[in-house]
Amino acid sequence: MEWLETFWATYSTLVLSIGTNVLLALSIYLTLVCGLLTVANAAFMGIGAYTAALLSLHSGLPFYLSLMLGALLPAAVALLLGPPTLRLSGVYLAMATLAFGEIVRIFLLNSESLTGGALGLNGIPQHTQWFDVVVIVIAALYVLLRFSGSRIGRTMVAICQDEVATELMGLNVRAYKLFAFALGAGLAGLAGGLNAHFTFFISPNEYGFDRGVEILAMGVLGGTGSPWGAVIGGALITLLPELLRGLGNYRPLINGVILIVIILYSPKGIWDLTRFVRGKRAAAAN
């Protein structure tokens, strides 16, 4: 397995970044399907990262348990935050989640005794292995594929198109939204924990507005037609800077331009482009 080790030595960071970002994009997927615009997942990621890291550093808990708790805490926070916040719609929800994200970041910055404040948390044991990331991503993808292909996904699409009509069909719209929100929070927390145990250093500013917007961008870029869209969105946003490495200082510029071009020519996201292929196959099957 020597080639695997060399591969890992060279590309481990990349694989883990892709995995983390795909997981983050998946975390926002269901909320986007419901039509919810939230930038809170960066904050949930931060909560998960710090929880898992602190547990690893200070308690004797095994890695996987810390990771799980790092996923459960943000989910619990989401369950608390959800009911008042999810009443808001559209941009107001985005803004409320933005405010929440900033509050979390400020809290992390200011609780120095617990979180190390602006200096961040260092020396996190590097427990994350590539198979952890791969397994978790595949599991998350599977769960989301199952949900989105079922009546649950269908209901969420309906909620996105017309909440009132959906509610009047006997469906508890609030519960569905809360579910999407909390599941997303858990996945984001998981991503945070995994990431923390690889980069061994985390700081509050990694989980702010910019990250929140980036996650949203991954979700929208990929498209809401299918969880595969989130995979594409996450992978693309991670790989693009890498693929453009040769361009040096102008890398962000090209990055930005590519983003613009993609959204201009496929406003519903990249997954929408595949509908031509899928459409042909469906027509051929009939």
């Binding site: 916040t85 808001l88 405010a99 509050i103 961008a217 102008y250 406003p267």
Partner: protein, 293 residues
């Protein structure tokens, strides 16, 4: 002491209001969350700086140059990004993503051209002299900033309330379909809104750059965050809200730094924001969404 801080709050608040106005115009009329607004802000600052440093132009002309450049950028933004997306009936988040791309591109271009360090205006002497009204010290620069900000706001408000085109714009913000049915040139107005909003952001950029005497590529980001906070507070898409929200934030910042300390200042701001959103999601002046069949 209070009066001096009030002056600071007014000048800072005025600039915040300008910036927020631009942001809220694009949201209210085009229905887009323009995350490139911070980049317009930065563009204005750099244009004015280069006009003074490189072209050796007087400050007034530099401000004019900033206005022209950012207005032009606003025109391009609508022409090549917003308009095509409208034509394709893109989902409402798509333009926002495009503006993210634009902000990244602009920031990196500027950084590539001028470097990442903090640049300064050759202000010499401008800052020191000024007026003295009782306990309050205002430099000429601060005075000019306040005057320009208020002048722009007054002109804009007058234009919006009293002219036909301004009224058409307000109609457009209410309902795109109705405006089109009334024969209003909807596309033209969208373009104009983008121009106006961008130049407001650009002017705010110049003013802040002069006020703090710091110009750097990332300067738009924190400003964008604040602009968003202002607009949420005042109500998305509402002009009065943007104005009042801007002043409110200016006052809150100046006074809270004095009394609470700067680290918790942001926490106070966002905590307040969050509470307000829960109690009154549409902000102080926004329209409440209705849930009826």
């Amino acid at each position: 002491m209070h009066a001096q801080q009030l002056v600071n709050a007014i000048s800072l608040g005025g600039v915040y209001a300008l910036f927020a106005l631009g942001f809220t115009l694009i949201f209210g009329v085009l229905n887009v969350v323009n995350l490139a607004h911070g980049a317009m802000f930065m563009l204005g600052a750099y244009t004015a700086l280069q006009a003074v440093l490189f072209f050796k132009l007087p400050l007034a002309v530099a401000v004019l140059a900033a206005i022209v450049v950012t207005a032009g950028a606003g025109w391009l933004l609508d022409r090549f990004i917003f308009a095509p997306l409208r034509a394709r009936q893109a989902p409402h988040l798509a333009p926002m993503i495009a503006t993210i791309g634009l902000a990244i591109s602009l920031n990196s271009t500027i950084q590539g051209l001028f470097g990442a360090e903090n640049l300064r205006f050759p202000v010499h002497g401008l800052a020191a002299e000024g007026l003295r009204l009782g306990d309050v010290q205002i430099t000429w620069l601060e005075l000019q900033i306040i005057l320009l900000a208020f002048l722009l706001m007054a002109v804009l408000l007058w234009w919006l309330m009293r002219t036909r085109m301004g009224t058409a714009l307000r109609a457009l913000a209410e309902s795109r379909k109705a405006a089109a049915l009334l024969g209003i040139d909807v596309e033209g107005l969208f373009r104009l809104t983008s121009v106006i909003a961008s130049l407001l952001g650009g002017v705010a950029g110049v003013l802040i750059a002069l006020y703090t005497n710091a110009v750097f590529p990332q300067m738009g980001q924190p400003m964008l965050h604040k602009g968003i906070a202002v607009v949420i507070l005042g109500g998305m898409g509402d002009i009065r809200g943007a104005l009042l929200g801007g002043f409110f934030l200016g006052c809150a910042e100046v006074f809270s730094v004095a009394y609470v300390g700067s680290t918790m200042r942001d926490a106070v701001a966002f905590g307040l924001l969050f509470a307000i959103l829960l109690l009154r999601p549409q902000g102080l002046f926004g329209k409440a969404a209705q849930r009826r069949a």
